[in-house]
């Protein structure tokens, strides 16, 4: 079974994240770049099930600047079999539509039975790419899964939505997205890191996928303005001397919040 895992390089959520106020793009120099945690969970799912699946081959597909290779190699060290890295300066600032077209084309080129993605990235927080990719590939999409069974030619799982829990199923090939309910990704060990050096890494451009990032016939979402909100400042801080509850009640009432 050919499993494709979608992964992404993101600014470390634990650090400061910045947008460049002139270009509106993520300031990649402002913080450490890491693999998105939810993508690591998606890869962990693939790795943990690989042993029980016939001829499982796990390919990580990522669209990211050339500089992301080091970050993406971690996925190989964790245990993925190969990496398809789409790196193209013409794709910098790609909107959701263009990103979906590129990833769908790369997935089709790679070949797939199951595509696994995180439900929401920790930076863009979009949560729509897997649905867009499923539509472009013409396959079912089971989203926001909290558990999943992969059996032969079919997946099933539970899906947490507003108001309840759903059991869903789909015939393969299919796209699924998983939530934080899944376990965190494993740490690469020394053996994994050494093995990763020999694993195939394919670097593609948009042209390799027959995509023209500058084509004008498809509408694109463009940024008109970006601004930084003033940082939130700390207000009053008191140490409880036995009357903090009353003082807090006073504060809430004065501010018409109680």
């Amino acid at each position: 079974m050919k499993i494709v895992v979608l992964m992404k390089e993101v600014p470390d959520t634990y650090g400061e994240r910045k947008l460049n106020l002139e270009t509106g793009l993520a300031d990649r120099g402002a913080s450490d770049a890491v693999l998105d945690e939810i993508g690591e969970r998606a890869l962990e799912l693939a790795l943990s099930r690989a042993a029980s699946i016939d001829n499982a081959e796990i390919t990580v597909v990522s669209m990211a600047p050339e500089t992301a290779t080091t970050t993406l190699r971690k996925a190989l060290a964790m245990g993925a079999d190969r990496l398809v890295h789409i790196a193209d300066v013409n794709l910098v600032g790609a909107d959701l539509g263009l990103t979906a077209e590129v990833l769908a084309a790369a997935i089709r080129r790679t070949g797939f039975d199951l595509v696994i993605a995180g439900n929401l990235s920790t930076d863009g927080y979009g949560g729509v790419l897997p649905a867009m990719i499923a539509e472009l590939l013409g396959v079912p999409y089971a989203s926001a899964l909290a558990s999943v069974d992969i059996a032969g030619d079919r997946i099933s799982g539970t899906r947490e939505t507003d108001g309840g829990v759903m059991t869903v199923a789909a015939a393969l090939p299919a796209v699924i997205s998983i939530t934080e309910r899944f376990p965190a990704g494993r740490f690469p060990n020394f053996k994994g890191i050494m093995a990763a050096k020999k694993k195939p890494v394919e670097t593609l451009t948009a042209a390799d996928l027959d995509i023209d990032p500058e084509a004008l016939d498809t509408p694109r979402s463009i940024m008109l303005a970006v601004s930084e909100r003033p940082a939130r400042a700390a207000g009053t801080k008191i140490v409880d001397e036995g009357d903090a509850g009353e003082k807090l009640a006073e504060f809430l009432i004065q501010n018409r919040l109680a």
């Binding site: 947008l19 947490e160 869903v168 601004s227 930084e228 939130r232 008191i238 003082k247 919040l257």
Partner: protein, 328 residues
């Protein structure tokens, strides 16, 4: 045949499993009314009932389209996308608005990819300039504001629940039943659905005006009841940090943060929440933040308008008593 105004904004309204309009509907129609004429699309068997159209009219839909596509109750997203495609072809709207819910995102993603429309997600506001509809976003946990628009064509926009305060005037809508040709796109099938029981009459976390959230400092599921008590005194919704959710004290639907729910209430009270950056990303756009924590160095104090360093098991009961006394 009905003709639709040139400034139509097509709004997909989700319905609950019991057939009522989703809570997100009023905000979506409010946002639509601000920039054009709201045309609501209701999908599903229950949506075809006259009551559903009336309910949509009461919150501002000027026109209502209803559809009951094949497979609507047994397939994920695709039948709704088919209905939305039929509605868009009929209405030629200036924009298409959906809720930024799990289902809303699934439909928006598929629809935008199918129709090659520009897609903007998790908008917190909509406006119109001379070139068309603009979506306003709040990114990196509220640290930046970003405005986006399509190069051309009608944008597809998902709107963050609870972010729109505008409400549209009630209308008496004209209702049109849509004929939806199935696309035949393969979909995941729904095997079963188990509704989560509504446990209280507290406001729903998403979109609540006040939120009381508990974290690791509550120490146990029994003690977490203190959060509920304060919430009830304030008329607030209950939220939690990931630590409290992971500990199993509350369901994951309570989780506020980067993963979980983003809230922008008037008042956010954090009890025993350290304020990890992922949690702050989901609540730091609150108007007023109050924090109680034993640890004077907890990062939550950096953004709190009123912070109390102290034992929440002393402070909160006193706060509840004090608020209750003043109410009488």
């Amino acid at each position: 045949m009905t003709t639709f105004p040139k400034d139509s904004i097509l709004v997909l309204i989700e319905t609950t499993p019991s057939g009522e309009l989703a809570r997100s509907a009023a905000g979506l129609l409010g946002a639509a009314a601000r920039v054009g004429t709201p045309v609501a699309l209701l999908v599903g068997e229950s949506a075809t009932a006259a009551a559903a159209s009336e309910a949509a009219g009461a919150i501002g839909a000027k026109h209502v389209l209803t559809a009951d596509p094949e497979g609507g109750a047994s397939q994920l997203a695709v039948p709704v996308v088919d209905a939305l495609a039929a509605a868009a072809a009929l209405v030629h709207p200036d924009a298409i608005l959906l809720s930024n819910s799990v289902n809303g995102r699934d439909v928006a993603g598929r629809f935008a990819a199918r129709t090659r429309s520009a897609l903007a997600v998790d908008a917190v506001g909509i406006s119109r300039d001379e070139e068309g509809i603009v979506a306003h976003h709040s990114v990196y946990g509220g640290a930046y504001s970003v405005d986006c628009a399509p190069t051309f064509g009608a944008p597809v926009i998902t709107v963050r629940e609870g972010s729109i305060d505008d409400r549209a005037e009630a209308a008496s809508p004209e209702t049109t039943a849509l004929d939806v040709p199935p696309s035949g796109v393969p979909a995941a099938s729904i095997q079963s659905f188990e509704a989560q029981a509504v446990v209280s009459n507290r406001p729903e976390l998403r979109g609540a005006a006040k939120v009381v959230a508990g974290g690791r400092g509550l120490t146990s599921q029994e003690q977490f009841a203190l959060v509920d008590q304060l919430a009830d005194v304030l008329g607030a919704a209950v939220g939690a940090s990931r630590a409290a959710v992971d500990a199993g004290w509350v369901p994951n639907s309570y989780q506020v943060g980067q993963t979980g729910i983003s809230v922008s209430p008037q008042l956010y009270v954090a009890l025993g929440v350290s304020g990890a950056i992922q949690h702050r990303a989901g609540m730091q756009t609150a108007k007023t933040i109050v924090a109680i924590n034993k640890d004077p160095d907890a990062p939550i104090f950096e953004i709190a308008d009123f912070g109390v360093v102290g034992d929440l098991f002393d402070v909160v009961p006193q706060l509840i008593a004090s608020l209750s006394a003043r109410k009488e």
